[in-house]
């Protein structure tokens, strides 16, 4: 296979990982919203935890995006 096209295909495959991060971030914010609707008074206190969970989950998606960007733009 042509190395240039292999790089592009690899970048596309690497982006699949972002789907998992998307599911994770959706679960976090969805559950936060569900809990906040049930008990609005406790919602403010959990905002830090929400952002922490979001950051940790999102990092994994960003890692796969980073691999895709490296494959696309870094010239060897």
């Amino acid at each position: 296979m042509d190395p240039a096209s292999a790089k592009l295909i690899g970048a596309g495959i690497a982006c699949i990982g972002m789907g998992g991060a998307g599911v994770g971030v959706g679960v976090i914010f969805g559950n936060y919203l569900a809990a906040a609707v049930r008990n609005p008074s406790a919602a403010q206190g959990q905002f830090g935890n929400l952002i922490f969970g979001f950051a940790v989950t999102e990092a994994l998606g960003i890692f796969s995006l980073l691999i895709a960007l490296l494959l696309l733009f870094v010239k060897l």
Binding site: G48, I51, F52, A55, E58, A59, I62, F63, L69, F73
Partner: protein, 251 residues
């Protein structure tokens, strides 16, 4: 025409400031924007405390709000004892938030979109936690690898996972900020490139149709403003959480 969305991250040497061995040390556009960020923060904080009025003016309330915001974050995540590290967290937060927001302005340079910058800030936090943790707790600091209430037969696995996750902290801490800023700015440039691409390939209809990607670019810039603030917040809150580990090991 060719699109070059990573041209904005080029480092340009402005003037030479020294020489170490064979390496010339240059003052680059990255250093210039770091200086801009520091000057802006100094202006905000010095201008904020210069008047010292009972009813704060605009600059003073901005300075007070940023102080209270970070102080509340440190208190709730690292406890009252963590306020010792308030200057560190505040400096990190202000530096990242100001440089990110300056980077949103078109034709400027975003410092934190270079991994060398974030990979310098993250080990600073990592080694602060490590050194203060051993200074304060001695050998008991190793308790952060051993969560309490875990059955003995599963403990070796949990300890291994905790050690790996502790060691990968500086990596994830730095790559998160860097990759978010990099990806955001590349996305902005790619969408802005669509406007020119439509216009040059379809003529008049293309220029009219180019309004849509242009509107999307404006919307994405607003989103990037949120991301710029959020990533600085995330960086600071993770710093607080790591410092909390150094102060209170053993969960």
């Amino acid at each position: 025409m060719t699109l070059d969305p990573i041209h904005q991250f080029n480092i340009n040497n402005l003037f030479k400031i020294g020489q170490i061995g064979d390496h010339a040390i240059y003052f680059t556009n990255s250093s210039a924007y770091m200086l801009v960020a520091v000057v802006l923060i100094c202006l905000l904080m010095i201008g904020g405390v210069a008047g010292r009025q009972l009813v704060p003016g605009r600059v003073q309330s901005m300075a007070e709000v940023s102080y209270e915001f970070v102080a509340a974050m440190v208190r709730s995540n690292a406890g009252a004892e963590g306020m010792k590290f308030f200057p560190l967290v505040f400096s990190l937060f202000m530096f990242i938030v100001v440089s990110n927001v300056v980077g949103i302005i078109p034709y400027t340079f975003t410092i934190s979109s270079h991994i060398i910058v974030t990979a310098t800030l993250a080990p600073l936090v990592f080694f602060t936690v490590l050194i203060y943790g051993f200074y304060k707790n001695g050998v008991k600091f190793f308790k952060i690898f051993v969560p309490s209430g875990i059955p003995i037969y599963i403990l070796p696995l949990v300890v291994a996972i905790e050690i790996i996750s502790f060691l990968s902290r500086p990596l994830s801490h730095s790559v998160r900020l860097f990759a978010n800023m990099l990806a955001g700015h590349i996305t902005l440039k790619v969408f802005a490139g669509f406007v020119a691409l439509l216009g040059t390939s379809l003529g008049a209809i293309g220029w009219i149709g180019g309004v849509m990607p242009l509107a999307l670019t404006v919307a994405l810039t607003a989103l990037e403003l949120l991301v710029a603030f959020l990533q600085a917040y995330v960086f600071a809150i993770l710093t607080c959480i790591y410092i909390n580990d150094a102060i209170h090991p053993g969960h």
